[in-house]
């Protein structure tokens, strides 16, 4: 299966290890992964901040870039939801039936990573090994827009050595919210502090999620407060194996081939 990886601009620039882990994981499961270099950004920041008119070229770019793949996989519930919910809206508004068509063609092939693993590859045990106590934060867009349900936790439960703990108030927003974090910094920080208090109360050493943007906000708070817990994208847990628990192999250039 030829999989186009839509990594997202945040992961490409700030969290390359999440991308490397996603590639290693998908290749381990037999996918032919490609990262088309024409990809940039899904346009969520513009759309959600009130600059939806500027999103059209990005929607067009996405549809053109990923037109030829059997599946498009993204390790982000939030960007996945932007594509699924709002790219059709942006295309409809553009008044260009060609764009609406192109979006309609690519849309059904777009999957968030855990969704792709469970629904398309039909794997719930990816052969991972991660000997840590882990709390899973279901980010709002993973939970309420992408409706990932128990897919991420099912995958985590099957990771050898991993102890999954219940996160109190799991379904409450962490306070990131894109530009909300800087437009309403005090409320955002209050929400983040509550999320971290809940995460720390579980005794977990890793707080994981399917969205690095939320983890950037929480990780930034942990770093400032010198907290004990660390944040990690779920792909980096699922990619870890007994022979390579720290992901040294998948991060090395070409080494895993």
């Amino acid at each position: 299966m030829r999989v186009g990886l839509f990594l997202t601009c945040v992961n490409d620039t700030l969290y390359p290890r999440t991308g490397q882990a996603t590639v290693a994981l998908l290749e381990r499961l037999g996918c032919d992964v490609d990262f088309p270099l024409a990809q940039t950004c899904c346009g969520q920041m513009h759309w959600n901040t009130g600059y939806g008119r500027q999103v059209e070229p990005l929607v067009r770019g996405f549809a053109e870039t990923f037109a030829g793949y059997d599946a498009v996989v993204t390790p982000s519930g939030s960007c996945g939801a932007m594509i699924r919910d709002n790219h059709p809206r942006a295309a409809a508004r553009s008044g260009d039936p060609g764009l609406a068509d192109a979006v309609a063609q690519v849309m059904p092939k777009v999957y968030e990573l855990t969704e792709f693993l469970v629904d398309v590859l039909q794997v719930t045990d990816v052969g991972a090994y991660f000997p840590h106590r882990v709390a899973y934060h279901p980010t709002c867009h993973s939970l309420r827009l992408m409706r990932l349900g128990d897919r991420p936790t099912t995958l985590l439960r099957n990771v050898r050595g991993l102890e999954l703990v219940d996160l109190p108030g799991a379904e409450e927003c962490c306070g990131f919210g894109g530009t909300f974090a800087v437009k309403n910094p005090d409320v955002s920080a209050a929400m983040g502090a509550d999320k971290l208090r809940n995460a720390e109360s579980t005794g977990a050493d890793v707080l994981c999620a399917a969205d690095n943007s939320c983890l950037m906000h929480l990780g930034g708070m942990i770093s400032r407060r010198k907290g004990a817990i660390r944040t990690l994208h779920i792909a980096e847990i699922l990619a870890a194996t007994e022979t390579d628990p720290e992901g040294a192999m998948w991060a090395r250039t070409g080494a895993h081939r």
């Binding site: 992964v33 009130g50 600059y51 927003c173 894109g178 909300f180 070409g254």
Partner: protein, 478 residues
Amino acid sequence: MNAVPLGMPAFPAAARDATRNTTLRRNLRHATHTIRDRRAAAVAELDDWAGLRAAGAAVKDQTLRHLDHYLEQAEAAVTAAGGQVHWAADADEANRIVADLVRATGETEVVKIKSMATQEIGLNEALAEVGITAYETDLAELIVQLGEDRPSHILVPAIHRNRTEIRDIFRKTMGEWGIPAPEGMSDEPRELAEAARLHLREKFLRAKVAVSGANFLVAETGTLVVVESEGNGRMCLTLPETLISVVGIEKVVPTWRDLEVFLQLLPRSSTAERMNPYTSTWTGVTDGDGPREFHLVLLDNGRTKILADEVGRQTLRCIRCSACLNVCPVYERAGGHAYGSVYPGPIGAILTPQLRGTTSEIDASLPYASSLCGACYEVCPVAIDIPEVLVHLREKVTEQRGHVVERAALRAAGWVMRDPKRYTALQRAAVRTRAVHPRKVPLPGWGKAWSATRDLPALPAESFRTWWQHRDTPGGTT
């Protein structure tokens, strides 16, 4: 709509104070989490909740599509039943109509049933200007009125107060408004309720005129409906000689069969009850029973303007249950007052800017008072996609004057993002200069807002795309 409160700052500034008020945070957290959990349990009891919710949305949409028809049908039915119907285009007109009606009775006092519409138009203040005193009789509204306070929740206007604060308010001001609080009253809920009961009973028995709102107006029979928990509303609806109801035009439902859907949706969403304790219905006037004179004031006050907006019009489905407030993480931390409106929380963040416009600082900031987490949409019993409307209103705000720096920054970002070459070049430049990137940005604006509580992530030595291009793969790259 009632004007913006004097000196009201933008939402972020008002919310900042609330996040630092530990008593308020504790009160709100306890109250919202309790009702949120109870609502979830009450809703889970019904197998057909999703169907009911879809029906509620469909009935409202159908009614709004033919609003003119149903309003005229309601007017004819109310008139046939001996009531009088008045049409008010805005707050001033509605206030003038009510004031004239009260003056015509020769009275200078009215008792009031809890009503959002009369708060929206600032009726109490307008009546006070012409020498008429309005007494709030809902327990929580009484607490707000006696405390010279503002409501902070649609259903529980005094949610920001704890019982000790309420005791102090009762002790201090009840006597100025009527029967004083009993000597030695404690902050036990039973004693506080008894003090309110004695205070209000005297008002009910004396009042000749009552003012209400309504939860629903059934067009086929011209019947008004009020649902409540305390029974104080029913006292106001039955004892006085004259009843004046101020009702938003979106409250109309075509038939009693339609009403049945909402009488299931509303109590479970709002108080987590299967059925609310008191449901009062009245149709015009009845000889020898209840008020002898009934006036219905139908209020537009910006609603037809909302109806004309294809995305915004779903806001008019709202039945004021406040489930969205109770589940909102922003409301829980910011409190209701930060929204600068009688409509706080997620529904307020979309309703207020549509009713008042987005020219004031507070109103322009309300569409941004959300992390777009979607919890409000999930619990809304009439499926209002609040995040969708918020984003829609954000676009209206950014199309106004101002936002110079933000608009320029996002335009530049858009220009970079729409071209992979520009995007890659900027990314490379950022990586090359990573050694000098700070983890904190002390400059005013977004950098400082982020850095006050959070470190910036460290930029990695190599972006993913650079790594990918150097990867030794048989598949190659595109």
